[in-house]
């Protein structure tokens, strides 16, 4: 029995008693989905603080007009690397960590289908993160001029002109991309092949559906990004002219390729969390998820729409009127499937018996603040008004409502929701609630003023600004420091929970439903040695 259930074809003999060797070797060689999930999540948390520290330096510089702390060159490096780190090294690994830990538990699989690829997927990340940040340190020793300074968008020709930081970023993106594709392939084949008997696709948990769409989007779009940065690399070093008008190329081609990846990337980050939030909302409303099928259809619709709206990220680059109109209306139509999701989230709560534990608080915060992102996204789609919003702090505020409130706070809801299952201990509810309220207040304090800065005309990515923007920037900086520091509570709460605490029940939350709650907390090293039967559900 044990040979059939251990991970991978290289199933170890039962003699290891369900545990691998201790020490670093265990983590380097593990093919266990729980170990790998833990590594992904730990890495994500670590990089969340790295990326956060970078942006706090930026906010400190922006506290007052004038240059106080750094040169503009260094400022430009910080903003770009902050974005790359947060997107590729914090948010995406966090979602992949969830998938690794939870998908096998939730679908009754013994492990991921391709455990060794799983190990590879993770271990590509640390070198990628190193490549991304190494140029900062090389510059200290007089090698190169620092990290990539083009913003995360790497627009040519600025990136063709840039220093070695751009090359490092290109290779980091390749590694991160390979890691994402490996992870996606693994998730797709696991969901297709290792579901418990009787679990049809339309009985799949919504979290799995969200991840399935993300995985398909990653496989469709990461190669395009990889292609674009490879073209950038050959333009930089091998005399091609993909993006150089003098050689018959077009700088805007880069923007098309980048955003063909970049727009779906937003949904890549958010779909797993749109899948997660209904579970949390249903659990704490003690009610079944409302509109399961409608949500699945919306995930698919959003996935499809996401790859046909990319050019709304560069309306100001100029394009023919029919193209402008097409991208405007197709972008607006994304609001329909998104509205289905909002409707279902709220209908799930309707006439439930709601309690407000930390995961629920984060889920509710996610819903409300992500609502701001969705609604401002709707107005950004309008080409005429976009001429004012674009490249301004309005956009910065908009996508932080999407990616911090929608992304990071969604991840936090998930962490608090599943942490007792993973560790077998309850976290401190008091600290969790404190963390939530500090986060939600300081988040708004940080980013709400940025909407007004954008409306008043402050461009993004400037290290210094005109005097009329001073007050809002000061408020935003104060907010950002509270926001950053309150995340330490999060880390401390997790650490405490890993170390010990009140014993968690198998079914941690009263209203929780799903296979994962039938296993012990923490689950055995090999899940589902006894196959769950889904025929009767």
């Amino acid at each position: 029995m044990s040979t059939a259930t251990t991970a991978g074809r290289d199933a170890r003999p039962p003699a290891h008693g369900g545990r691998y060797r201790g020490g670093i070797l265990r983590w380097l060689t593990t093919t266990n989905h729980k170990d790998i999930g833990t590594m992904y999540l730990t890495f994500a948390l670590l990089m969340f603080f790295v990326g956060g520290a970078m942006i706090l330096a930026v906010r400190a510089e922006l506290f007052q007009p004038g240059l106080q702390l750094m040169k503009p060159e260094f400022f430009n490096q910080l903003i770009g690397v902050h974005a790359l780190v947060m997107i590729f090294a914090a948010l995406m690994p966090a979602a992949t960590g969830f998938a690794n830990w939870q998908l096998p538990l939730m679908i009754g699989a013994p492990d991921m289908a391709l455990p060794r690829i799983n190990n590879w997927g993770f271990w590509l990340l640390p070198p990628a993160a190193l490549l991304l940040t190494l140029p900062f340190f090389l510059a200290l020793f007089g090698i190169g001029d620092g990290a990539v300074a083009t913003g995360w968008t790497l627009y040519a020709p600025l990136s063709v002109q840039g220093g070695i930081g751009v090359d490092f970023a290109i290779f980091a993106i390749h590694l991160l991309g390979v890691s994402s594709i490996l992870g996606s392939i693994n998730i797709i084949v696991t969901l297709f092949n290792l579901r418990a008997p009787g679990m049809t696709m339309m009985k799949l948990p919504l979290f799995a559906w969200g991840w399935l769409m993300t995985a398909f989007l990653l496989i469709a779009t990461i190669p395009v990004l990889a292609g674009a940065v490879t073209m950038l690399l050959t333009d930089r070093h091998f005399g091609t002219h993909f993006f150089d008008a003098a050689g018959g190329g077009d700088p805007i081609l880069f923007q098309h390729l980048f955003w063909f990846f970049g727009h779906p990337e937003v949904y890549i980050l958010l779909l797993p969390l749109w899948g997660l939030v209904p579970h949390v909302v249903a659990t704490f409303s003690r009610k079944p998820i409302y509109g399961y099928k409608a949500q699945v259809v919306s995930f698919i619709a959003i996935g499809v729409l996401s790859v046909i709206v990319w050019a709304h990220h560069f309306f100001t680059a100029g394009m023919p009127v029919p193209a402008l109109l097409y991208f405007m209306y197709s972008t607006m139509s994304i609001s329909l499937p998104l509205a289905v999701l909002f409707f279902c989230w709220i209908a799930t709560m309707w006439r439930g018996a709601i309690t407000f534990e930390t995961p629920m608080l984060f889920a509710l915060g996610f819903i409300v603040l992500f609502g701001v992102a969705g609604l401002t996204g709707l107005v950004l789609a309008d080409v005429a008004a976009d001429a004012q919003y674009h490249h301004s702090y309005f956009v910065v505020a908009h996508f932080h409502y999407a990616l911090f409130a929608g992304g990071i706070m969604g991840v936090m809801a998930g962490v608090y929701y599943w942490l007792p299952k993973w560790t077998g201990h309850m976290f401190s509810e008091k600290l969790g609630k404190l963390h939530f309220w500090l986060t939600v207040v300081s988040f708004n304090l940080t980013f709400m003023p940025q909407f007004f800065l954008g409306l008043a005309g402050m461009p993004r990515r400037i290290p210094d600004y005109a005097l009329q923007f001073a007050e809002f920037n000061a408020i935003s900086t104060v907010g950002s420091f509270i926001l950053g520091l309150s995340q330490l509570i999060f880390a401390y709460n997790i650490w405490r929970c890993v170390k010990g605490g009140e014993k968690a029940a198998d079914k941690v939350w009263e209203g929780a439903e799903g296979l994962e709650w039938e296993l012990s907390s923490p689950p055995p090293h090999h899940s589902w040695e006894i196959r769950p039967n889904f025929d009767n559900r």
Binding site: A245, V321, M349, A353, D382, V383, P449
Partner: protein, 382 residues
């Protein structure tokens, strides 16, 4: 304080938002007025949506809390015609909002915004370059460069900041009020974006391509904006300043500017003394070169090499036959260096300015080339 966001300025008495800190700055073109109008309408719509949707949610949070003591319902989807009706109504409303309430005004505004050619009275060509703007009036042959005039001392906090800190230039664009100006944009190096918030106009300047937009300024005044696309280290320091004046004043300014340019070009034919060249060169260097190569010529290596002690600067000025040599100092200044921020100044500076700045660089920062070049020589090399 930030909740004012949900009360767009349109709702407030205009005095309360006189300085428009909560909204777009005061519009002075038809496009900007349209944009502000659309923006206010959209903000009202999304605010209403936000309030209605989350009022329902908050009602549910309170009424359906566990401590209220009712057992949870078990439904997981609409059942029956009436429920389906209520489920579909919000989506019908959203369709209406997307494609009628928002879609139709947006359509009109887009078509208007992109109509750059109909009845255009004049053309302004804007060229972005790291990190300044060049303005060209093809009708009258005027062409000049506009750079930020805020002193570095203010940026470094060694001096009090002026009223228009970072939003002031040496040579503003001058445009006549009430005329439809077709604006053509391009760039010499990387992508820049020309943005004046009060015009409601923001358009990228893309190297090797022409993009266009238009303005019709309705009020005389000085309007300020900035480059909006990250374009390198001094992206934050390339403001746009437009002075809108009545047509008569504009014509007078154009005549004056033409005369000035003719005078500047006139110097090409005479022989300049070494001291004259050095004085003028110092001035040109401060405006055009010091941003990267620094006032002391030490540069910011490796992106921006030092001129002090540079092998290229120390190399011969011209070949023995008096021709331009590839990769020489003069070649770099005239034609730039591909793949770097060093641009082809031959396109933007006059013969006199080029001769002066090259002479200055060869004889400053400890460089002792000792040689000089005359504007006439530059002219013949072009």
């Amino acid at each position: 304080m930030p909740r004012c966001f949900y009360l767009p300025a349109a709702l407030l008495p205009s005095s309360a938002c006189a300085d428009y800190r909560w909204n777009f700055p005061e519009p002075v073109t038809p496009i900007a007025r349209d944009t502000l109008h659309i923006h206010n309408e959209f903000m009202l719509i999304i605010t209403a949506l936000f309030v209605v949707v989350f009022a329902i949610m908050i009602y549910s949070m309170i009424a359906h809390r566990k401590s209220a003591g009712r057992p949870p319902a078990r439904f997981s989807g609409p059942a029956g015609g009436v429920q389906w009706f209520w489920v579909l109504v919000p989506f019908a409303i959203l369709l209406l909002i997307d494609f009628v309430l928002m879609g139709i005004p947006a359509y009109r505004a887009v078509v208007d915004m992109e109509d750059t050619r109909t009845r255009a009275d004049m053309v302004l060509k804007v060229t972005g370059m790291q990190w300044k703007w060049q303005y060209e009036y093809p009708d009258s042959g005027i062409k000049y460069i506009s750079t930020m005039s805020t002193p570095r001392e203010q940026i470094g906090n060694r001096e009090a900041k002026g009223e228009h800190y970072l939003l002031e230039v040496d040579n503003p664009v001058v445009l006549p009020v009430g005329k439809k100006v077709r604006i053509l944009l391009t760039s010499t190096d990387v992508i820049h974006t020309w943005w004046v918030p009060q015009f409601g106009v923001k358009r990228d300047a893309i190297p090797g391509f022409l993009r266009e937009t238009w303005v019709r300024i309705e009020e005389p005044g000085t309007y300020r904006g900035q480059c909006a696309e990250l374009c390198g280290k001094d992206h934050g320091f390339m403001p746009v300043v437009v002075r809108a004046v009545p047509e008569a004043e504009y014509l007078a300014w154009a005549d004056l500017k033409k005369a000035e340019q003719a005078a500047a070009a006139g110097g090409t034919d005479r022989v300049w003394s070494r001291d004259e060249l050095l004085v003028k060169g110092k001035d040109v260097y401060a405006k055009q070169c010091a941003v990267c190569h620094q006032a002391n010529g030490q540069g910011l290596p490796p992106a921006f090499p030092a001129l002090s002690g540079s092998k290229i600067v120390a190399g011969p000025l011209l070949s023995p036959a008096g021709k331009l040599m590839k990769d020489s100092h003069l070649d770099r200044v005239l034609n730039g260096k591909e793949g770097s921020a060093m641009q082809a100044f031959g396109n933007t500076l006059s013969d006199t300015e080029l001769a002066a700045v090259v002479t200055f660089e060869r004889n400053s920062f400890g460089n002792t080339g000792g040689d000089l070049i005359q504007p006439a020589q530059i002219k013949s090399l072009r």
